[in-house]
């Protein structure tokens, strides 16, 4: 991986979840930089930056339940955008509710992963996300 590896955008409001996720990526020696947004509003605020030429993320890890603007709304706006709709969005949430899964996919989520409570498994998830979305997955130019 080069130093220009595109970042991973992590949208997560819970500070401990955020910390643990970052640590999980660190433990797996992830090469892609991780950019964080603490709620939906912050995530959406990145769109003008991308427009301005900042590198777009290779994948967005999106929590659903967040204050102010929730994950589903972020997903809706992203997928409605002509360019950013191509950024893969992986919903990473505690909710295994069928309704949430349905809604997320209906809005165009590329994947839906329930955060494992067990940290060992969480590490495995982080590894697989990185491997799949940042290494294996091929995006359009």
């Amino acid at each position: 991986m080069t130093a220009f590896a595109p970042p991973i955008l992590l949208v997560e409001d819970n500070p401990m979840d955020l910390d643990l996720t970052l640590r999980a990526f660190q433990r797996r020696h992830l090469t892609n930089p991780v950019v964080t947004a603490r709620d939906g509003e912050e995530a959406l605020a990145m769109m003008p930056l991308w427009e301005a030429g900042e590198p777009m993320p290779a994948v967005i890890l999106l929590d659903l339940k967040m204050p102010r603007v929730d994950g589903l709304e972020v997903l809706r706006q992203l997928k409605a955008h002509p360019r950013f709709c191509k950024i893969p969005v992986v919903v990473l949430t505690s909710s295994g509710e069928d309704g949430d899964i349905q809604k997320a996919y209906a809005l165009g989520a590329n994947s839906y992963i329930i955060k494992p409570v067990n940290f060992e498994r969480f590490l495995a998830v982080a590894e697989q996300i990185e491997l799949y979305w940042c290494v294996l997955n091929q995006l359009p130019e």
């Binding site: 401990m16 643990l20 505690s94 295994g96 949430d100 955060k115 067990n118 940290f119 969480f122």
Partner: protein, 584 residues
């Protein structure tokens, strides 16, 4: 007759005068013209003969004429007589003498079994034939008419036939008087009117019945012609207008009620007539008689004559005030109930939404701190293990065990609440395949527990059922059996599937399907039977048999939602048998 005599006498006199004058005149002329006696005698003879001849011709002509005229008259009379004799009319004439003897009666009297001669010869008096109840009246009427006129009158009375039956006759009579007004003759024609009287009586009876019908009906009934003019009405209707039928007939609504209401009535009449069938409307009516008001249902029906031509409108109005009031009360009650149901439903829906939000929070927010505890304790273990003594490391392990248990609880709680909220979806499910899949999932657990599964099922079975509900129920029972059947003798879990076909005799008996899961483990005390299906109820210590106390509650809830039931049978120490029963 006198005039004919006088006429004949006049002709005879003229003849005598003319003959004498002719004889005298012709004799004188002969004497004057013929002087010779013998020749004169001859001529005289010839003249006499000529006279006789002429008078003979004249006589012939006259007699022939008279006879011809008589023949014509007789012919007419005969014709008349035949007609009358064959007619139902009996022609009679009576003399104005005490007892009014019959002086003429034609042959049609035979229709009643009498010969004209019996009456003409006085063997039978006409008065004797009249009904005893009628005879006095008839005689009094005759006396009055003879004394005071009018000379033309009709009487009706009963007449006895020769066979002893009574017939009603109508007797049309004329009185003939002379120049001084003395009664000369009484003539009349009699006609049997029994049938007419009978049909009239029948008609009256039928009309009476109809009238009784219309009068007795508690509804308002009336009949109008096409122009809205009343033809008839019953007594209840009279009360509406506060007038008697006689006053109502011939008038219109405009004569009794205000213009608007009358126009309204009239409009409805027209509607019924245009429609060609009954037209129903409701109206508030005020009784003119006592000012009472009521709601009426009025049916107006066009009335047709025998040829199918429209002749008017029949109206029937029935009071529906009370019916409407109770209907209204019922409607209000229903409305209130509906509103209450709607309110309750809304409350329930709100509650359901709250519950949904609650379980969402549970699923999301409760798990997040758990993840933190687990994550950081793991990090602590990995990065700072060296700084902890053995006891400290045990504490860490306990923390992580607690997390796992808490996680299990949350997951089960979520499953339980989801089971309550989830809509049921009934679809054909291949039950054997489902069982097979479930057993495959439990393969590792079975191996670990050293248990085998003995399956006893029909060759195939497809049920229309909620797949997820059935899956959850069966999975929990299997997990339970593995958990509590461990170490049992024999080391077997028996799974049986029994089908009870719908009863062809007993209606509503849909047939049953029963899943039976039996283990040979520790079993349970039947006195706790009902408790085990309640949420958070546990019969064993967690370190012996780990669990959340939700599994069987979930089974019970799933069965309840699918319209089935679950129960258990057990002998402590020798295993437990769980039954799932579903309608087929």
């Amino acid at each position: 007759m006198n005039s004919i005599n006088r006429h004949a006498l006049r002709i005879a006199a003229i003849y005598v005068v003319c003959s004498i004058l002719w004889i005298v005149f012709s004799d004188r002329l002969l004497i004057f013209l013929v002087t010779e006696v013998s020749q004169r005698n001859q001529l005289q003879t010839a003249k006499g003969l000529g006279f006789v001849l002429l008078t003979a011709v004249l006589l012939y002509y006259l007699i022939a004429r008279v006879f011809r005229a008589r023949l014509v008259t007789e012919g007419h009379l005969l014709e008349l007589q035949r007609i009358i004799d064959r007619s139902p009319v009996v022609a009679m004439a009576w003399k104005n003498e005490p007892g009014w003897p019959v002086c003429f009666v034609n042959d049609s009297i035979r229709q009643w079994g009498y010969c004209p001669e019996q009456l003409l010869e006085g063997r039978l008096s006409f008065a004797q034939l009249i009904h005893p109840d009628d005879v006095t009246r008839v005689e009094q009427e005759v006396v009055r008419h003879l004394a005071q006129g009018p000379d033309d009158y009709t009487q009706e009375y009963r007449l006895k036939t020769a066979a002893g039956q009574w017939v009603w006759v109508s007797d049309r009579t004329w009185v003939e008087r002379d120049a001084e007004g003395r009664v000369m003759r009484i003539r009349g024609v009699l006609q049997d009117v029994t049938l007419i009287q009978q049909s009239q009586a029948r008609l009256e009876a039928s009309e009476g019945r109809l009238r009784a019908l219309v009068t007795t009906i508690p509804d308002l009934v009336w009949l109008k012609d096409m122009d809205g003019v009343y033809l008839s009405c019953n007594s209840v209707f009279e009360r509406l207008f506060g007038a008697k039928e006689a006053e109502i007939v011939g008038k219109t609504d405009h004569d009794f009620v205000d213009r608007d209401l009358a126009d309204f009535f009239r409009d409805n009449d027209r509607k019924a007539m245009e429609k060609g069938g009954p037209s129903i409307n409701e109206e508030w009516l005020t009784f003119a008689e006592d000012g009472r008001q009521g709601l009426f249902e009025t049916i107006k029906t066009p009335v047709l004559d025998a040829h199918g031509h429209l002749v008017g409108v029949l109206g029937i109005a029935r009071e529906v005030t009370q019916a409407r009031e109770s209907q209204e009360a019922l409607r209000r009650l229903t409305q209130e109930l509906e509103q209450r149901v709607a309110e309750r439903t809304a409350e329930l829906e709100a509650l359901n939404r709250e519950l949904e939000a609650f379980s969402y929070s549970v699923s999301h927010d409760l798990k997040a701190p758990l993840r933190s505890i687990d994550g950081y304790s793991q990090l602590l273990h990995e990065d700072y293990r060296g700084c902890l003594n053995e006891e400290g490391q045990l504490f860490l392990q306990r923390i992580r065990q607690g997390v796992t248990q808490m996680y299990g609880l949350i997951e089960d709680l979520l499953a339980y609440s989801r089971m309550e909220r989830r809509p049921l979806e009934s679809a054909p499910v291949d039950v054997l395949r489902l069982l097979d899949d479930l057993l495959k999932d439990q393969q590792d657990a079975l191996m670990a527990a050293g248990l085998e599964v003995q399956l006893q099922t029909p060759a195939s079975l497809t049920l229309a059922v909620d797949r997820e509900g059935l899956t959850i129920a069966l999975r929990n029972l299997l997990e339970n059996a593995i958990k509590f059947g461990r170490g049992g003798q024999p080391p077997l879990i028996q799974v049986r599937l029994e089908v009870q076909e719908p009863s062809p005799v007993q209606e509503g008996h849909t047939g049953l399907v029963r899943f039976i899961v039996q283990d040979h483990g520790i079993g349970l005390d039947m006195k706790y039977h009902d408790r085990i299906f309640k949420i958070f109820q546990r019969l064993h210590r967690a370190e012996d048999y780990p669990g959340t106390g939700i599994g069987l509650a979930l089974v019970s809830k799933a069965m309840q939602r699918m319209g089935g039931r679950v129960w258990a049978e057990s002998v402590p120490g020798s295993g437990a048998t769980f039954y799932l029963e579903l309608p087929q």
